[in-house]
């Protein structure tokens, strides 16, 4: 089981290890390349998928965008209150979230975010867009 020593003792083994290391470097290059390749393909696929289905759901989509775009920021004092709410939620979630691989139904974070956004909107006072 002592892998560390057996392959260093002899010079020849050292050369072999060097070969193995070069092979491992090649695996790394190839592996990371393929991972990025696959993920980029996925990116394209997802963009295409949402683009295609968005056309068919354009009514909902535009409505959704509108409401999202019109969500402005709130002013200083209220920000703090909203943030306090959001942080409390985040912390509460953090505590219950340790039990991977049995996470809460992911609606939990969606609604946490929505709650944060709603809190913002509730307090909003017609400020201009921040960008």
């Amino acid at each position: 089981m002592d892998h560390g020593l057996s392959s260093i003792v002899y010079g020849q083994m050292d050369i072999n290890m060097s070969d193995t290391f070069i092979q491992a470097l090649q695996i790394t290059a190839l592996g990371m390349g393929l991972v990025f390749g696959a993920i980029i393909l996925l990116w394209g696929m997802m963009s295409l998928l949402t683009a295609i289905t968005a056309d068919k759901d354009s009514f909902h989509a535009s409505r959704g965008r509108a409401s999202a775009a019109s969500a402005p920021v709130m002013d200083g004092e209220l920000k703090a209150q909203a943030a306090a709410v959001a942080v409390a939620i985040a912390l509460a979630e953090q505590q219950t979230s340790l039990a991977h691989p049995l996470p809460d139904p992911p609606t939990a974070f969606v609604s946490a975010w929505q709650l944060g956004m709603r809190t913002r909107q509730m307090y909003q006072k017609g400020d201009s867009f921040r960008r």
């Binding site: 980029i40 759901d57 985040a90 953090q94 946490a112």
Partner: protein
Amino acid sequence: MDLVSLLPELLKGILHFTWGNALMIAAALVLIYLAIYKEIEPVLLLPIGFGCLLANIPLAGMTAGEGMMAVLYNAGISTELFPLLIFVGVGAMIDFSPLLAQPRMALLGAAGQFGIFGTLLLAILIGFPLNEAASIGVIGAIDGPTSIFVATKLAPELLAPIAVAAYSYMSLIPIIQPPLMKLLTTKKERLIRMEYTPKPISKKTLAFFPVLLTLVVGLLVPEATPLISMLMLGNLLKVSGVVDRLSKSAQNEIINVATLFLGLTIGATMSAASFLNLATIKILGLGLLAFVLDTVAGLLFGKLMAVLSRYKINPLIGAAGISAFPMAGRLAAKVANDEDPDNFILMHAMGANTAGQLGSVIAGGILLAIVSKLI
């Protein structure tokens, strides 16, 4: 019957007890303690700890022959049924809409896999043969079922330390990641706010996504098919909305029973005789490194994206790309929020986090494909 000759026989349990058993039982007690009193991944650490206890009671016969742990191991680990069934349940709990709403977040899920290959390199350097080095590297997938699946195929003899490292460090993520996040990002970077103006994702998209993903990943990386397909099956059961019964089964009885049995049997491979050796210590060290490398690579890639996007992207979400769903995502959001109580990046972090889950499975499959060919 000679009763006197029977007595030593009756003390055989204690007579066969070794210092190694004592050490492993101490380790088991630590795992159980962490599970109960620190609430660290209790659904896994508690069964693993208890299984470890059982494996170190001499002559109990539970881990050999027709013993219960051996039966469960053959039924669910050798066949990879337990990790795959867990994935069906996990899939039924994942929500891919944050990722679908911001597809470019997927890139972070690729960067967060560097730990797999970096650790493989290091493991080769300190002398592990390729199959074992790859299995150790896959701790860097930071995803239990993927680690177990790949290790079972490439180096089943190392399954116990690999699984223990994967699950233990996963539970320590709130301790491992924040220092790295603060070290590698500037305060200015951590303060970056991100717009969340998502394209609304239709039910049709949500249902088509797992099917398409199974097909594309399956065709490109056949070795990843079992993992990705079971994850996507669970997700499809949920998002389809028409098989509520099956979705609930996946999220409850299937994942619960598989998790309990997986934990017990993984723990039961931790007998002193097979666990207590230098390789285990090396693996535990390399596993920690894998977590660090993943986080570092994710953060650096996050910084790159921040620059390329003219600081529209907060690099902290890079740390969520390592997988460890859903803790890593929540942690990144929390660190940003701690810096500026008004900064909400949870949805972006969850996008990167689910991408990390996919990236982990894909990277595991690619590693399996390459290494299977070479050994």
